[in-house]
């Protein structure tokens, strides 16, 4: 199960809408082992594509050094699909390399509704999980 607060869900959704029709991507970091996504970090999609996303390699290093310094890990890794459903694609699955992360998929294919779903992707295996949206999250 993914436990996440409404403000963070809203931030992720807003980011996806802003970057549409390109895919949006980012991370929500939290203390290592806490499973609490607390710190919303939108990233630039270096691919700037409606069908692909990738964190710029320099941004990626900066992000990981920062998380390391704060004893954090990427609790949520999110990205959007702009014309397809909010479900991990074969590419999403093959490049998923954070076994402890919740992979959040958002779809902006409809104007009036944003799908928001969460998955675990471990060793090429996808499992959808329930999303519990709470009003406030503390450490």
């Amino acid at each position: 199960m993914l436990v996440i607060d409404q403000l963070t869900v809203d931030a992720i959704t807003a980011h996806a809408r802003l970057d549409h029709p390109d895919e949006a991507c980012g991370v929500v970091a939290g203390p290592i082992g806490s499973d609490r996504p607390l710190r919303f970090i939108p990233m630039v999609n270096a691919a700037r594509s409606p069908t692909f996303y990738e964190f710029d390699s320099k941004d990626l290093l900066k992000l990981y050094r920062e998380m390391d310094a704060l004893d954090e890990e990427p609790v949520v890794i999110y990205h959007s699909h702009t014309a397809t459903q909010a479900y991990p694609s074969r590419t999403d699955i093959s490049y998923a390399s954070e076994p402890n992360a919740h992979y959040v998929l958002v779809s902006t294919r409809e104007d009036d509704e944003t799908e928001f779903r969460s998955f675990r992707i471990v060793d090429g295996h996808v499992t959808e999980e329930p999303v519990n949206i709470v009003t406030g999250l503390v450490e």
């Binding site: 895919e23 991507c25 991370v27 990233m43 691919a47 409606p50 069908t51 692909f52 996303y53 990738e54 964190f55 390699s57 320099k58 990626l60 290093l61 990981y64 890990e73 890794i77 990205h79 699909h81 702009t82 014309a83 397809t84 991990p88 694609s89 590419t91 999403d92 490049y95 998923a96 390399s97 954070e98 076994p99 402890n100």
Partner: protein, 91 residues
């Protein structure tokens, strides 16, 4: 020659959980060969058909090796190397 190599979570199964290991090599290619000798199976996660895998990022002293000569990038004693799988995907 001692080069400190930071290992990402997903590759720590090869290093017995260690997030930082020491290796030697005058080039990245030699370093990877040394890593393979110490941690069998690791090289295949970094290299495919003699080149660095596209979706694995490797940095020498915080510079992406793509700008330093790729797999032939030179190394000096005291350098630190960081490995980070790309965060990427598609529709």
């Amino acid at each position: 020659m001692a080069i400190e190599v930071s290992i990402p979570t997903i590759l720590r199964t090869y290093t017995d959980g260690a997030k930082s290991v020491e290796a030697a090599g005058a080039t990245l290619s030699e370093l990877i060969a040394d890593l393979e000798a110490q941690f069998p199976g690791l090289a295949d996660r970094l290299v495919e058909d003699g080149s660095l895998r596209r979706f694995v990022n490797i940095y020498i002293n915080d510079e992406d090796v793509r700008f330093l000569g790729g797999i032939d990038a030179p190394l000096t004693d005291g350098d630190n190397v960081t490995v980070l799988p790309a965060v990427a995907g598609g529709a």
